[in-house]
Symmetry: C2
Subunit: 293 residues, 2 copies
């Protein structure tokens, strides 16, 4: 049976795994994300010595994901200067195996569609609300890339009254990520999110921003389901608040069976936190299938 | 050679055409949009007597565009009560020919990709700013449907200072369409758009709203190009203002060759106003091709 390598390349850690084409994880190792010269050789060696037949990589962005572009597989303009313009995909070419490459959030979306909360669907948004806000998007079964890849975490929102000056994004003064990701919560309230669990005003405001962003995604992508993951969503009291406020924002304009069952429409991630790894396995499996076709 | 019928079914008029698979329009007739009982038989007869081998329909929404759904081809919850729940597509089945069915804005997007400003691209947004605001979206060569179809004209924007209370959407108090479509301009300034051509403050405010909506589309869809059409965009002084303000909103966060050439990124429609008809022809041509395959 084929062995599929999976590399979830995040901003803080790299998760290396080997799995079966059915999504069973056989082996796993984590290493901290340092500069590429410190960890890439080690990762290539790891996959080489673990006998994988194909590899799926989900990389932090911005990164080139369009196979016909010269930036394919490269890390682009990132605050992590050591990684800037690093040709990440090419580093794994010596393995001589088929490789699939996409963004971290797109592979998480793929994981949810293949093994998680969105099985059987083809148009889906996976939103992570953690250190940043990022959306992985599948449309008609295809992961959305376009010009670059979606950066839907940076859409502009309306600042809530009294919350002026609290956007922490260095680029924007009222973007979704800057107002609602983990660091903005810490900036606004002076404590980390998990320390604020019993402060209802924190999650009321947080859910207002989440609902505005998600309402925009509902209207723009027309997804069949939206999955919310990431550290901040561990505050599960957010889910009912977000659902209620999304419906208030839409105000009856959209009438669909999906929205009529909002608890099944805006849902928790379904892969026990492993949507990234499982999505990488599926990406590698698809690369192998394509190479054999 | 095949003759392709095209029906652009708009809220105020129906445009019936016959074209070649190469997009040459051979015949055309317009009739006002009345209730279905008043015009549908006549349209079926028209296409029947014009010897078409296939038909492409671009219909006003909301309408079912997902072939696997029971609402496929039906008009949904519309203010036009006579059309509510009308099975539009089925009315044309007696013609016994292959039929393609999509929304008016999606066919316009298809027209622009096939014959207009977006030839050779596969991920594109067509935005109409007219009586309403609607976005037709193609992702990786496929028109976006999902749960229903995008209703990206109703995303929420930030109200500009002094403009409170001017959103004319019956559902939302600060949505893009309610703040920036033709009727909102007329409501705000007391005159129709074409009468306000020499009032710079009108187009300054209009371009601010357009730029916020378009910035959201850039971030969410990551399109390779955005085409702006519809009556309001006849005020072509809007284009440079919108381009400048979109770049200001993004504030250097996205670095791509496309955005570096913003004049080629946010562009006028390229089908001489015929993107809807030409898109219907292409939709019909594809239906014929699929039926013959
Ligand atoms: N239980 C929690 N409640 C609220 N916020 C949390 C919780 N756990 C983590 N976070 C916040 O989520 C962010 C980390 O997100 P996470 O998804 O774990 O990682 P990353 O986005 O870096 O991959 C931090 O800002 C952290 O404060
Ligand atoms: N030259 C113009 N300048 C400004 N606004 C215009 C102009 N022409 C039409 N409009 C406005 O555009 C709207 C009609 O849009 P149009 O795209 O022509 O039709 P529809 O959206 O109904 O298909 C009206 O609100 C009208 O006032
Ligand atoms: Zn931002
Ligand atoms: Zn609205």
């Amino acid at each position: 049976m084929a062995r599929i390598g999976a590399l979830e390349a995040g901003g803080t850690k790299m998760v290396l795994s080997v799995g079966t084409p059915e999504g069973e994880v056989l082996e796993r190792e984590e290493i901290p994300t340092q500069g590429p010269q410190d960890c890439v050789d080690r990762m290539v060696e790891w996959f080489g010595s673990h006998n994988v037949d194909a590899l799926g990589i989900g990389a932090f962005g911005p990164t080139g994901v369009n196979p016909s572009s010269s930036s394919y597989g490269k890390i682009l303009e990132t605050p992590k200067t050591a990684w800037r313009h690093f040709d990440f995909l090419s580093a794994f070419k010596p393995l001589g195996i088929p490789i699939g490459y996409d963004t971290d959030v797109n592979v998480a979306c793929l994981g949810e569609v293949t093994y998680g909360s969105c099985k059987g669907l083809d148009t889906v948004v996976y939103l992570t609300v953690g250190t940043g806000i990022g959306a992985g998007v599948m449309v008609s079964g295809q992961l959305l890339h376009g010009m670059l890849h979606p950066e839907a975490g940076h859409i502009l929102l309306e600042i809530q009254p009294g919350d002026e000056g609290n956007c922490v994004c260095p680029y924007h003064d009222r973007c979704f990520e800057g107002l609602a990701a983990g660091p903005s919560i810490e900036h606004r309230w002076g404590k980390k999110g998990f320390e604020l669990a019993d402060r209802p005003e924190v999650w009321d405001l947080e859910s207002t921003y989440l609902a505005e962003g998600i309402s925009t995604y509902v209207l723009c992508y027309s997804p069949q389901r939206i999955v919310l993951g990431g550290g901040v969503m561990k505050q599960t009291q957010l889910f009912p608040l977000v659902r209620k406020k999304v419906l208030e924002n839409l105000n009856g304009y959209l009438v669909t069976p999906e929205l009529a069952d909002i608890d099944s429409y805006i849902v928790e991630a379904g892969c026990k936190g492993d949507q990234g790894v499982l999505g990488c396995i599926e990406l590698g499996r698809r690369a192998l299938e394509a190479a054999r076709a």
